[in-house]
Point group: C2
Chain length 340, copies 2
């Protein structure tokens, strides 16, 4: 098998792209796909401005940073073309778990010349968290990249203690806490966007799960770009065009040492069966995953955006921390109270 | 394993229903599920009457039978509850291919006391069609059931000749021809509904295929009940709550001799990979197929009905045969012209 571009021996076959690459050409392909994903944004029409957006954009009383609604971004683009995820003039905060996806994302964005700062959340889950933090710190040190660390122990939310006090599964609470602190750090640091390492396989598994439940409000907002609004930072997923295999290959070829110790509280992802099913479909029809995701963004999602706007309009600032919630006191503040 | 109902030894396990049955109790279960599927209709809100419906309902110039729009059925039901697929006072034409699903459907409806007439379309595909027709005739004779046969050779459309003359895949043309003559027979015979033997697995494979393409106009109308309108007979799928395995078990237990000779022109259904994927999901999560279909009917479909109404409004009578088409002369009349 020869490299599709340079005819040297190929090492990485990508049937979905009808191509195979040598290591150098693969790295080039990977970076181009990331750049394309950033430029394309998400290939869908920017949502109409709603009355709620206008309020949020002009409201001085929403929490720090929340007034920075992407009103200008939206207004500056027609209803036909999506804005890019972010530009080289903007500051991007990258969520770094220490896994290969997040580290690959950080490195590729830095190499492409974007302004990135890492954010690691230390969950205080014993040896697993210690290893994750050490890997992230060593990675950022090696590549000369800025890093912030948010310590959940200092916030009164060490995850083992949360698990002990909470009567419900820890994974959803832990996810809620991480999203809260990612958002807080992005808004307080006045970053233009918060980037996560979700890849195409993650997006497909989530999309399929949302379809299986016909959850219209999730379906209406799923995509590589969520505009900043109502106290939420802009959220972006620059790896959305690349699957797990491509991201793992990039991390391997770039010599990224990543966190491999599984979380002791997680019993394996619930998305596993969905990922297996989609691996079968991809094998039978190479390129189906990307094609399905693109078709969703272009033709499927718009049927659900109304449900999504209805949900957004029910949000208000949390009575304690000021971050958006649909229920008086937000989930994280309620967890804090239980743990205290 | 014991029968869930009578504690006799069970022969048929149905994990999706968290049950197992002896043969007698299974037959009872099967008939109750069909009855439930007929009564429930499709569990969704009847669509709003549109201006186009009013026109169709009052128009004397639409082809024979087409004025029988289910306006009364719609008007008689609130927007919250679906009407049944049909009642015991209505006359139902059942499409009989000779396969186990269609024969099982015919038999179960007759046993439940519905007014059924069979309709077989003789496609004139050599030995395969001869065998299918003989089986259908023998089945209807044995059970004392009324049968009509429409001969495609007499209509100038023997399928082998259509295949010879047509430059495109025969399966879609053959499907178009069958749908046309099913509809024609239902309207000309003034039947209240046209029933087909599609089961839950067929519906799931079709739904998944429509989702993969995000085909909004198909998604907006998919379901066990399509109201009569604009020159189309009411179409119903009474086996929609039952999978292939249940239908095959019913056919086996009732001693139904069915057509097994594959069509020489079909290279295996394109839905096969979708069915395999859903078999995996069903195994991992018993009951998922029915649950997903019900959730679609209740929560998913409504997001697509607008697209569906837009398509309906582009239909007009075919210039030659008078049956509805979106393109001047309908597909079947165009095929006839090519074959002649």
């Amino acid at each position: 098998m020869k490299c599709t571009r340079c005819k040297a021996p190929a090492m990485i076959a990508l049937p979905g792209h009808n191509a195979a690459f040598c290591p150098d050409c693969f790295l080039d392909f990977f970076e181009r796909q990331v750049e394309k994903g950033i430029k394309e944004g998400c290939g869908y029409r920017a949502p109409q401005m709603t009355a709620a957006d206008d309020i949020a954009a002009n409201c001085a009383e929403t929490p720090a940073g929340a007034a920075e609604v992407d009103a200008a971004t939206r207004a500056g683009h027609s209803n036909q073309v999506s804005p890019p995820l972010f530009t080289r003039e903007e500051r991007v905060l990258v969520a770094l778990s220490g896994g290969k996806d997040s580290l690959a994302l950080m490195l590729v964005l830095a190499r492409l010349g974007y302004q990135v700062t890492g954010l690691h959340i230390d969950l205080a889950i014993g040896e697993s968290s210690r290893q994750a933090r050490a890997i992230v710190e060593s990675f950022c040190g090696k590549h000369g990249l800025d890093l912030q660390v948010a310590e959940m122990a200092a916030e009164g939310l060490p995850i083992p203690r949360v698990k002990e006090k909470l009567k419900r599964p820890i994974c959803s609470a832990c996810g809620k806490i991480k999203r809260h602190y990612f958002n807080k750090a992005a808004l307080e640091g006045k970053y233009d966007a918060l980037a996560t390492g979700h890849n195409l396989d993650d997006e497909i598994a989530r999309l399929f799960s949302n379809i299986l439940r016909w959850d219209a409000s999730y379906l209406g907002e799923q995509g590589p770009l969520l505009y900043a609004e109502n106290g939420f930072a802009r959220k972006v997923k620059p790896l959305w065009r690349l699957g797990e295999y491509e991201t793992a290959s990039y991390a391997f070829l770039m010599g990224i040492d990543h966190h491999t110790m599984p979380c002791p509280f997680s019993k394996g992802a619930s998305f596993n069966i969905h990922k297996r099913v989609w691996a079968d479909l991809e094998q039978a029809m190479p390129g189906k995953k990307l094609n399905f995701y693109l078709e969703f963004l272009e033709k499927g999602r718009r049927h659900f955006t109304e449900a999504c706007h209805a949900t957004e309009q029910s949000l208000a600032p949390c009575e304690r921390c000021g971050y958006p919630t649909s229920s008086g006191v937000c989930g994280v503040c309620r967890i804090k109270e239980i743990v205290r």
